[in-house]
Symmetry: C2
Subunit: 147 residues, 2 copies
Amino acid sequence: MEPLHYWLMKTHTMFHREVMAETARFGLTAGQPKVLECLAKFGERDQKSIAAYCEIEQATAGSIITRMEEGGLVARRQKPGNRRSLYVSLTPAGQAAAQSVLQVFESIEARALRGIPKSEASQLVYLLQTLCDNMAGPAQATRGASR
Amino acid sequence: MEPLHYWLMKTHTMFHREVMAETARFGLTAGQPKVLECLAKFGERDQKSIAAYCEIEQATAGSIITRMEEGGLVARRQKPGNRRSLYVSLTPAGQAAAQSVLQVFESIEARALRGIPKSEASQLVYLLQTLCDNMAGPAQATRGASR
DNA sequence: TACTTATAATAAGTCTTCTTATTAATTGTG
DNA sequence: CACAATTAATAAGAAGACTTATTATAAGTA
């Protein structure tokens, strides 16, 4: 049987593929759904924190946001007192797209979890979180070393 | 708390990031570890089936393999009786790289699973497989419909 | 056998992603 | 206050990923 990382990759890829199949007809491209989700959930945000949420680099976020700005989904503005950060927010068109994206996420997730008891779905999320915590930690469980 | 798909994305991204941190010093780029894993596990293979294992498109696999061929990791050849498919196999250098990749995969996976009982790790894989099956199935659980 | 359909790979174009380097602004320290 | 260090964004260049279209080969059918 294939190892854990194979299924991690496959599940993620399939989810992404389903999302794109549903959202491409709104004109969204690969990087955009997550950015829309982020802005819908947290509101106006600077590019650095959008990148962090989406698990991509700042430069990548910047180019995706530029394309979204050109497409009229988001707007960038400066806030008084901080001329360094750029704050990104949804335009009305962006809000509409974001709502569609959230619905698509929900419906695909519901479909993926079909037949799985709620307790096991929670267990799944818990395990994934634990994996992330472990990977974020020191490379070796060097018992007391690290930092 | 973030929804399932967020953790799916994050776990996958972190795993990939760790893999690249360990393999980039061998000169491997992002798409190559999975191709090496595929060839190490299954031996000589045509590009279509490599793409299927890696969950990428054929055209993408082609360009990754071209780069790997230029780097001396793999070789392409035709088999008598089939002038359509190209069969890809590891060179000695590719086999060495593949062994390193398999070790890296194993060690990161072990680290990610630190503290998680074996039974729960199996449960995790089972759940991920179920998600894949569900997503591959019909879009609506139309109770008896499908095909 | 000839024609149609299907299959494997490649080509071209766009977008995503990364890394490294640069620029501008902010913060911290002497 | 002036200078150094940090931080946010952008620029540039390479690789990966997708889509659509093309080419060559193979298979199926009339």
